[in-house]
Every structure is written in structure tokens, then in C-alpha cells.
Symmetry: C2
Subunit: 298 residues, 2 copies
Amino acid sequence: MTLVVVGSVGIDTVETPHGRAENVVGGSSVYFSLAASHFTKVRLAANIGSDFPDQAWAALRERGADLDGIQSFDDQPTFRWSGKYEGNMNEAETLLTELNVLAEPPAIPTSYVGSPFVFLANMGPDVQLQALETLKGKVVFGDTMNLWIDIQREALLRVMKRLDGLILNDAEARELTGQSNLILAGEALLQMGPDIIVVKKGEHGATLFTKDFHFALPAFPTKCVVDPTGAGDSFAGGMLGYLAHHKDLSPASLRRAMVYGTAAASLTVEAFSTQALTQATRKDLDERFEQLVHFVRV
Amino acid sequence: MTLVVVGSVGIDTVETPHGRAENVVGGSSVYFSLAASHFTKVRLAANIGSDFPDQAWAALRERGADLDGIQSFDDQPTFRWSGKYEGNMNEAETLLTELNVLAEPPAIPTSYVGSPFVFLANMGPDVQLQALETLKGKVVFGDTMNLWIDIQREALLRVMKRLDGLILNDAEARELTGQSNLILAGEALLQMGPDIIVVKKGEHGATLFTKDFHFALPAFPTKCVVDPTGAGDSFAGGMLGYLAHHKDLSPASLRRAMVYGTAAASLTVEAFSTQALTQATRKDLDERFEQLVHFVRV
């Protein structure tokens, strides 16, 4: 089944204890698509500038992704983000953000409308709502960030009422609900609209909440985290790619999808930018799936 | 099989966002024994003052624990600790420590010598080494804390060479090894002596390392953490109680033991002091075991 993702494409400069990567490929929709395209047909909608390198799309083209929704602007550069990770690298310090082409909402091709699965990557909730209404997807998941919780909370709450699933990190879950206990935060988020909540906890894994069951998974036991950028988007891509392919939101399917999301995220963080995720094969993901299942089996 | 624990008995004053408990029962060996005594015969060695309330031992007596190693001092008060937890309550701020009777090493009854399982709760490594040599236990696990890593590192390293298992928290694992990545820290700890390393991560669960396999378990999804004091000691008690009863250090047994440890810790944190753990039944532990297994099953 096709999976539409609407989100950002960026050119990033990242510094971590392992080194520095300048002007490399980034953006939520790119990480998401690279992970999801191992499982299902991905249709991507995002804005770029003429400075974005065409060869960055090679892996997605090979994996059959539909890039008709990539809108290129001649007169503006691509979105730029620069950040720095220190210590345990659980959180980036943002050094620079230049919205550039992100100031325009992404254009949704009519061929994307009615897609069974949709992921609204982190964008302003007003843009998410517009995309959601245009796309008329059957199952819609979304992401968000602390900025929108702070400055567009009402709009975000309106989006949440329309989402089937929300994937966010632990700090965002706490901020959005005012609950410091993550189990209570997860349950409070379920009351805000989505039937499925996934709280990502970086090196501590992720927890899934539905009204019928909860499921917790540790992170993959990665020995070398080079660059955490895109881990959360890769997680969402692996998870939703698996769900969209199997057209199945049963508890068993959701649990397995979480494992694939974790596998995808673990590949991402082992190299700068999208390097590891671009080179990874479906076999790599399947191997990590098996390793992770073994790692958590009681 | 009998399980000897050598450690502290204390009178604690604890403040958390849920309230304050003054002059309540505490101490590593008490929490450990209350959890372990649901599974196996516990023999406890620790020092107390004449101010320690005798009724605190009722639950352990009922569960068949051997208290011959409780050494009471008429001329000194019991060890006192006072601490405060804030925010996510992952770490206590110590407000007061009065060693009192802990200045003397615990006296080990000869009936304890040669016990198949031994747990050396958090004490100075010199005291741990002395107890270890006296006890001649077959399988010996230990705990430690940041203070000893700071001021008695060499002695601690000598103890570690003699341990079969070490149970410590994530900050201690990082400090002891100098590795910020916990997987690398776990592997480095295995090189320092013990065949089994358990790294406790508070609300993020625990990870077990052996040279043959690793195992990760999230914390029990507790909605109300009233007082985290003793969670780590209860974890160790549940885990070692299970292992001692089954005389089995196989991977399957170690995994199940971790689940029981987590179940015991989750009971502890739901009330102040040893209250919840004192009232808990084996059935409570078994129910949480089943819930946790379901919570993590892929």
C-alpha cells in the first residue's frame, strides 16, 4: 500500500563528538522515506531549492519512491539546519535554522490524494492540517516538536483530533500533557485524539500506547552513535512502512512495526546524515529485527 | 537455596513530590531481603542500634528469614539517611548521612558461611571484601555506589575480580568505565571480573550483560511513583531471590529473574519506605511478572 509523507528536506551541518558533517542531506521526510521505502511504495511531498543535490534521490528512486511531490524553487535555497550534539547526544543544540523554501506549504500532487497511509512529519500544525485535508488519507500519523507545542498549541490540538497515530519524543509528551510520568502522559495523549501514541525515548527506546494495550521496547544496543540526527524520523519511517505494507494495525503488527522502526533508527545513528540508511538493505533491517527480538525476549 | 545478604539497615527521612516520611525503615539489606524472601530463604547480616523498631522484622520473620546476623549495638544509633527527590525522581539529593553503627563491619554468623548465594549490598569495598572472604559463598553478587568509585576505586576493582555478578546503576557504570555508551560500559565491566553485569536505569528499566548475550527490559509501567528509595535493592532482591531458589544462572533464568526484580522494584516505589514491599504477596509479584512479560512481548 502506498504511504504518503509530507515534511521537510534539508541541508544540514552537524557536529557530534565523532566529528563534523557540513552541508549534508537531511530533513524529516528524507529520513522517513529512506526507512519506509524498504517496506512499501512511498510518495514524498516536500519543498527544495535549486541548491539541493539531485543525486540525493538516487536511493529513493531505486526503491521505487514517487517523487512527484518534490517542489523545486529556483529563487530560494533549501531549508538549512545546523546543530551540535554533546555528551550522551540525546538532544541537539540548534545553532541555525533557515526556513527558506519551507516558508511555502508543500504542494500535494492529486495522485497522492486518498492514499491509504499518510505521515505528516514535523511541520507547523496549520500546514499539517492543510495537508491532511487535501490528502484525505485513510490512516494518518503525525509528528510534532516542542516549538509547536509552545506557540501553536491550539492548532496542534486540532490536528491531533484528526490523527490516528502520533509519534513524539518523551520531552514533547511531557510538555504537551503536563504529566511527568510517561505512562500517564501516554494515556493523556490518547484522550487528545489519536488511537495510537508512540513515545520515543532516544537511547531508552520507545513505548506504544493504545486504549487496549501498552508495549515497551528498548533501543537497539548500538555501540557507536555517530550522529543521532534523523533517528526519530527513521523510526517513524520503518514503523509506518511496515504497517502500510501489511495494512494491519493489530497489536501484533504494531509491536513488530515498532521493532522495525527501532532497527531503522539504529542504522541511521551509526553514520552522519543519511549515509547508513542509504546504504542499508532490507536484509540489514531484517537482521536487526531478529537481534532486537532476541535482545528483549524473556 | 539460602541467600545471604550483607548490607545496611537504616532509619530514613524522605521527601518526594508526594509527601514526606520521617524516621521510617530503610537500608539496602532490608529492601533486598523483603523482595528476596518471597522466593528463597534469606539470611541477613547487618548492624542496628537499639533505636531500631523490632516490629520492622515481622514480615521477614513470617517469610522464614534468618536474622541471626542482625547485630544490635546498645551504645550507638542505627544508620540514618535523609534525602529528597524532585522532578522525575530518578536521583535522590542526600540531605544527611549518619553512619553510626555502620562504622563497624557486620558480624557474619558461622551458620552463614558457605551459603550457595551471597549478595554484598552497597558498602565500602573493603567491608565487602572481608564479608566475601568470610562467607565463602558459591555465587556472589555485589552492588556499589559513586562514592566508592570516587574514593576507593582500587579496592572496588579488587572486589569486582571476585564477584560473579555486579548490579549497579547507569551513572555508576559510566563513571566506573569512562564509557558514555551503556553497551560499551556493560562490556567494559565484564572485562573487570564479573560474568554477569546488570545496569539499572530507573524509569528506563535495566540491561543485563554476559559474554554470551545481552538482555534489556523496560521498567514496569508504574503510574504513581511515590518514593523511589530502595527500588534498586528490591530489584536485586527479587532477581537474586529467584536465581537462588532455582539454582540456575542460564540465560532463560537470568531473563526471568530480571523480570521478577523489576516487579519487586515497581511495588517498592508505589509507597513510602518498605510499606508496599512489606504488604506485597508472592501473588502480587507473579501478577506483575505476567503483566511485564505481556508489556514487552513482540
